[in-house]
Assembly symmetry: none
Homo-oligomer: 359 residues x 2
Amino acid sequence: MIAGDGIEVIEGDCLAAMRALPEESVDLVFADPPYNLQLKGELTRPNNSRVDGVDAEWDRFDSFAAYDAFTRDWLEAARRCLKPDGAIWVIGTYHNIFRLGASLQDAGFWILNDIIWRKTNPMPNFRGKRFCNAHETLIWAARSETARPKFNYDALKSLNEGLQMRSDWLLPVCTGPERLRDDEGRKAHPTQKPEALLHRVLVASTEPGDTVLDPFLGSGTTAAVAKRLGRRCIGIERDPAYAALARARLAEVVRAERAAVAQTEGKRQAPRIPFGQLVERGMLSPGEVLESQCGRHRVKVRADGSVVAAESRGSIHQVGAELQGAPSCNGWLYWHVRIDGRLKPIDVLRQKLRAEMSS
Amino acid sequence: MIAGDGIEVIEGDCLAAMRALPEESVDLVFADPPYNLQLKGELTRPNNSRVDGVDAEWDRFDSFAAYDAFTRDWLEAARRCLKPDGAIWVIGTYHNIFRLGASLQDAGFWILNDIIWRKTNPMPNFRGKRFCNAHETLIWAARSETARPKFNYDALKSLNEGLQMRSDWLLPVCTGPERLRDDEGRKAHPTQKPEALLHRVLVASTEPGDTVLDPFLGSGTTAAVAKRLGRRCIGIERDPAYAALARARLAEVVRAERAAVAQTEGKRQAPRIPFGQLVERGMLSPGEVLESQCGRHRVKVRADGSVVAAESRGSIHQVGAELQGAPSCNGWLYWHVRIDGRLKPIDVLRQKLRAEMSS
DNA sequence: ACCCCAACTGAATCCCAAC
DNA sequence: CGTTGGGATTCAGTTGGGG
């Protein structure tokens, strides 16, 4: 079904194409839907008559209702393709993002964050009647409230030099050599998204080998970045000219080596090591004393990996919590041993063990 | 009807109070309605302290449908009070803003801009499961598509040091001496908005002598800023304790003869550029090699902006320091790339990016 | 008076594998 | 399905006490 490089461009209507895909088969959906609320193009309206001021309210209602129906349909089709723990990203502006977000919630998606793409070089408001419209909004939502979607927290923290990534992203609009142009030098697609934006989205919510579905592929930015980052991608585009544009673009993209797209992994992915293993392996001896950094609390290690204090016994976490009167405690960081005369958290022993076990 | 200073606090239900106001009598509505936060359990910080979340009765709704009905009702009542060329501002987060925006459109309001309040000091995401929710969204909408609402373009331009005001505003959350506290030092209102935010809204959309209506007055920020800026204000607050709080606060506010120049606004600084952005933007590729000037050390770039050496991984600064055995290292100057066959510090890439981003 | 450090806080939809 | 418990997780800024 998917080509050898894991990237496929389907030319056709996104509803039909998505309904032909297997259920629960994709890890992520990224969608940049049209926000043409006048219902030109693919959004057919029942009443094509031109409206004057008197009928303006009806026109508005028809427009919004039709857009909502269109949104409901493609969201439902996309949701069907998503794995249970999958997620969706959508992007839009104030013209459509509020309807899109409400439709997401109504369809059962669970919003995780809204993200602001702040443009470094937005088009100014020429008439001076409004604020310069300098951002677009993305919504990141899980397939359901109970879903547990991927989030590469540590990779994003790395992207932000050690600080937790915020919900406002500063990125330039797509210009210069990245912007695709036709033979006459006109932009080949009106709303081509910058690759940097998709890079951050895909690093955040997928891992190499995952499958991304883009129902409104357009110029193919999603597929291009997916290929560059070693993800698989199914892109759907109705317009033959845009589909051809995307295919030509993708032929030039080099798929990254697997090793190159590795990203910082969190501690949660590391294999769990029970404290008792430190004792079993002789890194700590039964009877040895652990102390808190401040020296206020001390426990003795027992052969079974539990620890005892004067009035308390249990796991390193339980005893640490009880002695501090705290609801919980990470014993790996709380308890220390004296190594070469200096207090070090027992977590360094765990790290050492992990290194030995992986080598 | 309005007191001599043009500021009135009405204690009571906002629907009834607004229906009692004359039609088409106010110039601007500012509304900070309940966000329908839907908080489930409690949340603790890594140090085990408890986050003081908003779980007030007034923020609980049974369903999205109930929230939508509530929204529809107060929007309709507010719209009735607005002059034909009047406008409305609403504020919210992803919990409610999409429903709020869609309801605005359904009610016949015409969205002019969405505005992002970027917080300088947001609460972090403590569990590392999402992006730090670092902004709130405001929507500015005209009473109707044909309305011609006020917009003090030049006043905002001067607030922004001569540059057209953008749709993203950087302002701190309300803390310090501005934050109202009760006798025991606890915050007197859970969601008090900063005056700087209202200052910018009122300077943008009203002129001295205009009447502002706030249906959810809370701690009274809207009325306080209106008074300070010489605007009239009708604030409605259901909770007697909050209404009393607002009245006491307003008694201390000095009505200005002329709008004072804001200090907190418009401060711009060179943006910090995380190393990861060079990768996102394609100036460096995952897998590319950086080397120290002497050639003694080499690292590989990863997709998330971290770098790896044989036995070390982390940020350009961390790995540089570790390989040199130094306490710290400026990775921007230490690491080099080969450009046109010559080694250049990666700082030249940062400078290039900065130049692009400020243009 | 000044500096330093510890404690505290802000509209928050915040864990998950094993049993 | 529910319960248990290991153990992972924070940034900018203010306040107040001690040296």
